[in-house]
Symmetry: C2
Subunit: 438 residues, 2 copies
């Protein structure tokens, strides 16, 4: 048995993950649409042998008061992620390229084509982060007055994924022969129509592109609600989750692995990890304090409201989160923040403070960060991390230059890529086609 490998994914928002990150000098004023800047960050992650880079996405500007919206960079001004991945495919050669696409506001034929193309363009480095989308502002850009109900959008996601996966198998591996002499481009026995008829979709197929190099691009998912976890257990190769205390992370890890084992699967679990590192703790704390001072409290409050999925307008900071109305619009993120508030008896003001303080970010030395990673990795709480960067380029540069060498020194992380595809990096097999003989 080979040594278990630590996996690192770079969770990239060009304007920075921390809401005041864009205000830090060094972040270009057009970071969200500045491809050369973004490419430079990705090249750094590739030089640091990260498994992959991941671009999150929203399909609209969140509904916030203007005084909040005007202070936020990322969700107002961001390149569409699949086009960015395609552009990145030409200037990188090894790092995996993962983008978000919503199952609620796309058509499966389109998503199947785009990710098959990305997998071909990158020679087997593409991944799809399957999201069901979260908020009403997105729904209103796609003809709905409010977000799809929770149960409905997970049923749709399940079916959406099945259609996409089926379409990727339209051509058997090797069915396209391009036999010039006989004039036969492909072997018709190796082409399959899907003929899917379901609750949400009717899709005949076949997909008009040969099978992706990875057979199936890597599937990432971040479900934390009940249906979200079930979806992840069934389809995910990689499960993203938020930062949690060790015991909670262990429980989550065990639960994901156990649920997935029922499907004969063993997805990798990557909790989010934000870091501010410096040679000494005092320096790291000073660096963070300077940026924390740039965060407007209204923006932090809006962030709490966004994740809690409730209107906090007019409530005092000393109040608890308001009780939830019964209904089906709850999300996993909402359930988590309510559970956290109940467990620790937190007011709205406490939650705002947690966001302001970096929401679980590790602020310390390279050894502090490496200790955290090693602890979670060796104690069944993580297979690696979804590393976010509060502001850029500094926190990304520091992670690659200070933390990665420490992880390598400890024998926890690769020093070079040994495979060619994202599946290779993650230690995942190439799935056979559903039509392949056993």
């Amino acid at each position: 048995m080979t040594t278990r490998q630590l996996h690192l994914n770079g969770f990239l928002k060009a304007a920075g993950e921390y809401h005041a990150g864009w205000r830090v000098p060094g972040n270009p004023p057009d970071a969200g649409v500045n491809f050369p800047f973004l490419a430079e960050q990705v090249r750094r992650l590739e030089a640091a042998t990260f498994d992959s880079v991941f671009l999150p996405d929203l399909l609209g500007v969140p509904d916030d008061p203007p005084a909040v919206t005007e202070r936020v960079a990322w969700s107002n001004d961001t390149l569409e992620p699949t086009t960015v991945l395609a552009a990145l495919s030409t200037i990188t050669s090894r790092i995996g390229l993962v983008a978000t696409a919503s199952t609620s506001y796309n058509q499966p034929y389109t998503v199947a084509r785009v990710f098959a193309s990305l997998d071909h363009l990158s020679k087997g480095r593409a991944g799809w982060n399957v999201v069901t989308s979260l908020n009403d502002a997105e729904a209103r850009n796609f003809g709905l007055s409010a977000h799809l109900g929770h149960a409905e959008r997970y049923r749709r996601a399940e079916e959406f994924f099945d259609v996409v996966a089926g379409l990727w198998d339209s051509f058997d591996d090797g069915a396209v022969r391009a036999d010039r002499v006989a004039g036969r481009f492909f072997d018709p026995a190796g082409l399959h129509r899907l003929d899917h008829h379901g609750e949400f979709f009717d899709v005949a197929g076949p997909l008009n592109i040969r099978r992706p190099p990875q057979g199936r691009p890597v599937i990432a998912q971040a479900g934390s609600s009940g249906p979200g976890r079930t979806l992840a257990a069934r389809i995910a190769d990689v499960v993203f989750t938020r930062a949690l205390p060790l015991a909670d992370a262990q429980a989550y890890y065990a639960s994901v692995k156990q649920q997935a084992s029922a499907f004969g699967r063993a997805p990798l679990v990557l909790p989010e990890l934000a870091t501010v590192v410096a040679p000494t703790r005092a320096e790291a704390e000073d660096r963070f304090a300077a940026v924390r001072d740039l965060l407007d409290p209204r923006v932090a409050l809006a962030d709490v409201q966004y994740w809690a999925g409730v209107d906090l307008t007019g409530l005092p900071l000393s109040a608890p989160l308001p009780p939830l109305a019964e209904g089906n619009r709850s999300t996993g993120a909402q359930a988590e923040i309510y559970a956290q508030a109940a467990r620790d008896n937190l007011t709205i003001g406490d939650l705002v403070q947690i966001v302001t303080d970096g929401d679980g970010a590790i602020i310390g030395t390279p050894a502090d960060v490496a200790d955290h990673i090693e602890e979670y990795f060796t104690q069944d709480a993580a297979d690696g991390f979804n590393v976010s960067f509060p502001w850029q380029p500094a926190t990304l540069v520091d992670f690659t230059e200070l933390v990665v060498p420490e992880l390598r020194r400890r024998g926890l992380f690769r020093t070079e890529y040994t495979g060619a595809t994202l599946r290779d990096h993650l230690g995942l097999p190439r799935p056979p086609s559903r039509y392949a003989p056993d």
Copy 2:
């Protein structure tokens, strides 16, 4: 007044425009998914100072008998065009990048984002070829049992475009200030919600990306039916049309210009031009004859059937096209092929022969091709050409190496790019935002 400029767009199918093109040695067996091969062709077009390259698209494998489908390359195995354009944006710096996206099977918010991103990635070189899609095979991949009716899909296209154009104006030019000191990312007075409510779409907006560098990516359209021409007149910067005899091309040109003038517009008209060139006519004819022999007659017949939009199964080649049933499924292409057949008294077999013979391709010397271009360009039949390449790389290389120098010698075509954006190349102004003060 500056001298009128000839415009050349490269109409690129990696497997070749002629259906037997993929069988010509030199075309790689994976041309449709081989980005380095495609990139090499685009670099050649950029070196030849083409205005733009254009990627057509279909959203499905056409319904043909297996004996036809298995002999066809392009429509079975092609990268999704917006991802290809994004990848091309990084390896080119001047040539315009135009991709097809359907208004029948996409959502306007998605298309607005993707083309805004492409325009940012390419620094103002993106174009959108607006199509309404054509066939039932595509419809069945998007939940419909047959293609949308002609009138309905043009109403949808009109509304779709208006939503996309409105979303591109969400942020005023200069509204994103990224004022680090004040902490204000943008000026809220410069952000506009669309709040569109129409027959097909309800889209609130705003789009979550700053205004594209060109204000509005270049719009191409190829409508040849009545509603298609009306749409082109109202929205197109560039009108693609099929190859026509001079008098017909002049009539079409005059009609497009006249219709557009009612909207205060003057789109460029670019007829398709396929060429096989060689130093002598005999050599050009020999080259074409060798490839013509590779075309299976069943494939040529299927092509006639595809454009005619009727089932020709079981009809003798000596028969005329069958009479059309009344209905709303007719397309401009169908009307044109029926008009041509009626005018010239053509049987199905004659039409198959026309396809087999290259369907209007100019087969001759560089001077022959330049004469044709010059005649159409100077006699009010074309503002340039949508140059297709029957097989690759040879016919593309020959066009750039033999024809372009001849056009330059005659003072018809640029010797270097003088502008930075696709609008610059085409001589089109940057449209002001709809919200800009007069």
